[in-house]
């Protein structure tokens, strides 16, 4: 093949590629960046965002994220989104600070940047949509454990990584309200790094270190599943109640076996939907992110921003044996 023919073909291919992007430019392109791909929670959020896009008509969702939960991976994803000139980036951050420079670069190019689920430091985003208020989540997770322990008992926390923004905030909020439950003793906080095998091993460690443990609170979807399995394998079903935050589809087995009596979660479909609605409203300049602003979230009502430009969507919802069958096929 001659050089000129090669150049001709390459130009043709490039032109064809540019043609397709040019056509898509009419839509408002919203990138939904997950902590990592292949996590049921984010897949469900992406479905919610698609639902919002359908309702809006002229919005397009680009669901993306790194393959593992690292800030480095997210920075690469953000840089490629900036290069693609999307209209809005909505990110659930693996690290609140590490992604800030990349997001600031995006904002300088006129891209609307918001964070959702796991927040970004205020200088790296226009607003943050928390799935629920951190206070409510902290209160919910301890209440889930305490309600099943009327006579008091020992509880331990199995978290994700020691640097997870949201897990750390929820645990701190939980500790603030611990004095409302004088008979409940928090004996340990361990970190399973959102890996099934490490979470399983940490749970085994808890069961060995505290033979009279009554409940494990895991405010992470990977951790709660692994903890329930470890409790079941240790033959402690019924003695140790695993609770916290999980997805109904992933927790159905644990509820069925009795390793978990109840757990809570906000609806990720609603969260993805609300995020896409907010990103759309900000990207099309229908609303401006400033303290006190009220921004529409479609069927989810309106989000009211606080002094840090943060807003909460709704309260977490509790799932147990009575409603798990209804929700396990939803998300």
């Amino acid at each position: 093949m001659s050089i000129t023919r090669r150049i001709a073909i390459a130009t043709g291919v490039a032109a064809a590629l540019m043609g397709t992007t040019a056509m898509a430019q009419d839509n408002v392109r919203i990138a939904l960046v997950a902590k990592s791909l292949g996590n049921g929670f984010f897949e469900a959020a992406a479905r919610g965002a698609e639902e919002a896009a359908e309702e809006l008509g002229n919005a397009e969702i680009i669901y993306t994220g790194p393959t593992s939960t690292t800030a480095e991976g997210q920075i690469e994803v953000i840089n490629s989104l900036v290069a693609q000139r999307v209209d809005a980036i909505a990110i659930s951050a693996n690290d609140p600070d590490a992604v800030v420079p990349a997001l600031q670069k995006a904002m300088q190019r006129g891209i609307t940047v918001i964070s959702w689920d796991s927040g970004v430091a205020p200088e790296g985003r226009e607003m943050h949509l928390a799935p629920s208020s951190d206070e409510l989540i902290g209160q919910t997770i301890i209440k889930l454990a305490a309600d099943k322990l009327p006579d008091g008992g020992k509880v331990a926390v199995l978290s994700a990584t020691s640097t997870s923004t949201n897990q750390n905030t929820w645990i701190a909020e939980m500790e603030k309200v611990m004095d409302q439950y004088p008979d409940i003793e928090l004996v340990a906080t361990v970190y399973g790094d959102d890996l099934a095998d490490k979470s399983y091993r940490e749970t085994q460690g808890l069961l060995q270190s505290y033979p009279d443990l009554d409940a494990i609170i895991a405010p992470t979807s990977v951790g709660i599943v692994a903890a329930a399995q470890a409790v079941q394998d240790a033959g402690k079903t019924g003695e140790v109640n695993v609770t916290g935050l999980g997805l109904p589809s992933e927790m159905a087995g644990a509820i069925e076996s009795g390793a978990s009596q109840s757990f809570a979660i906000w609806n990720p479909v609603d969260l993805g939907y609300a995020t896409a609605m907010l990103a759309y409203n900000l990207a099309t300049d229908e609303a401006k992110a400033e303290p006190g602003a009220e921004i529409g979230m479609g069927r989810m009502g309106t989000a009211t921003l606080d002094d840090d430009n943060q807003a909460a969507m709704s309260e977490p919802f509790t799932y147990d044996a009575s409603n798990i069958d209804e929700f396990k096929s939803v998300f």
Partner: protein
């Protein structure tokens, strides 16, 4: 006897015992037979993978794709089980091993026929196999309630006081002891790693031997894929993410020379057990979780430093000094 006491394996065994006793002082009950059996069970998968890796490293290669291979076969068996709960576990295990062998053979063929450096081949297939998981699963999880009871029960079933998972590991260890010490292929692994040029003159096909090492490592990774997913009762895209480094670390601790040609089955098993014991001990030893990673890394370096080879006594003629 004297030879054994001064051997690397004996030193490592002593270190392992010392480690267990040290943990026992911080958490009494750790050294109880029942708990040690559960540590062994927890480490079974690492032992099997480390044995497969040992063969590959012996031939001067490395297989970084084992964890991805494990994750992909695990996901495939879980998806088959979720879609067709009637398929017996034996069939699923056969599928897992076959898939693993296939992926190992793909690595081996690239190394053998195209002569690409193994680290490049397996870095590529590490990503490819992990990528295929996203393709086949669409990013979705297979959860415990979608798996059949038989699928989850097999590795947990107790047989003569030990779970089946432990028995499988013991069988693999025994098989490897015979393969490495008593068969022509086993000796060929050492010969190829010790001095590839000399191995050719003794009539050993270097490429084919390396291919066999990759195939065996792949088959074991496939078997472990089913065992892993069944044990943790969840299959997702990031299963065993980063585990390839644990496997290589276990081999290095076990005294398998990264330069090839030196190592033993006992060493690999002890190396894996050492790492497995640390992983199981840290959660119960009351050490701050913030220190755990640093401690586990330091333990690896200390183990290797103690285990350092003073005289590289290769099986066949040493290569001339460069």
């Amino acid at each position: 006897m004297k030879q054994f006491i001064t051997s690397r394996e004996a030193i490592l065994l002593a270190a392992l015992v010392a480690l267990i006793l040290l943990v026992e002082t911080r958490f009494s009950g750790f050294a109880a037979p029942g708990n040690l059996a559960s540590v062994f069970n927890d480490t079974s998968i690492l032992i099997m993978l480390a044995l497969g890796q040992t063969l590959v490293i012996l031939t001067r290669c490395i297989d970084l794709s084992q964890a991805s291979n494990l994750a992909l076969t695990g996901m495939v068996t879980a998806m088959i089980n979720a879609a067709m709960p009637g398929v017996p576990v034996v069939a699923l295990i056969s599928i897992a091993v076959a898939l693993g062998l296939l992926m190992g053979a793909f690595n081996g063929l690239l190394v053998w026929k195209l002569d690409i450096p193994p680290i490049v081949v397996t870095l590529g297939t590490l990503t490819i196999y992990r990528g295929i998981i996203f393709v086949v699963s669409g990013g979705a999880w297979v959860n415990s309630h979608e798996m059949s009871a038989a699928y989850k029960a097999f590795p947990r079933a107790e047989f003569l006081t030990l779970p089946v998972l432990s028995w499988i590991a013991l069988a693999v260890i025994a098989g490897f002891a015979i393969l490495v010490n008593r068969t022509a292929l086993g000796r060929a692994f050492f010969a190829v790693g010790g001095n590839p040029s000399a191995a050719v003159y003794t009539g050993i096909d270097v490429g084919r031997t390396r291919f066999m090492a990759f195939v065996i490592a792949g088959g074991l990774a496939g078997l472990c894929g089913y065992l892993w997913v069944s044990r943790y009762a969840v299959a997702y895209t990031d299963v065993a993410g980063g585990f390839e480094l644990d496997i290589v670390a276990a081999c290095v601790i076990g005294g398998i020379s990264i330069a090839g040609g030196l190592g033993s089955v006992t060493g690999a098993v002890l190396g894996a057990l050492f790492l497995g014991t640390i992983k199981n001990a840290l959660p119960v030893a009351g050490i701050s979780p913030f220190w755990q990673m640093a401690i586990s890394g330091a333990a690896i370096i200390i183990a290797v430093a103690f285990n350092r080879r003073k005289d590289p006594g290769r099986v066949i003629l040493k290569e001339p000094a460069q």
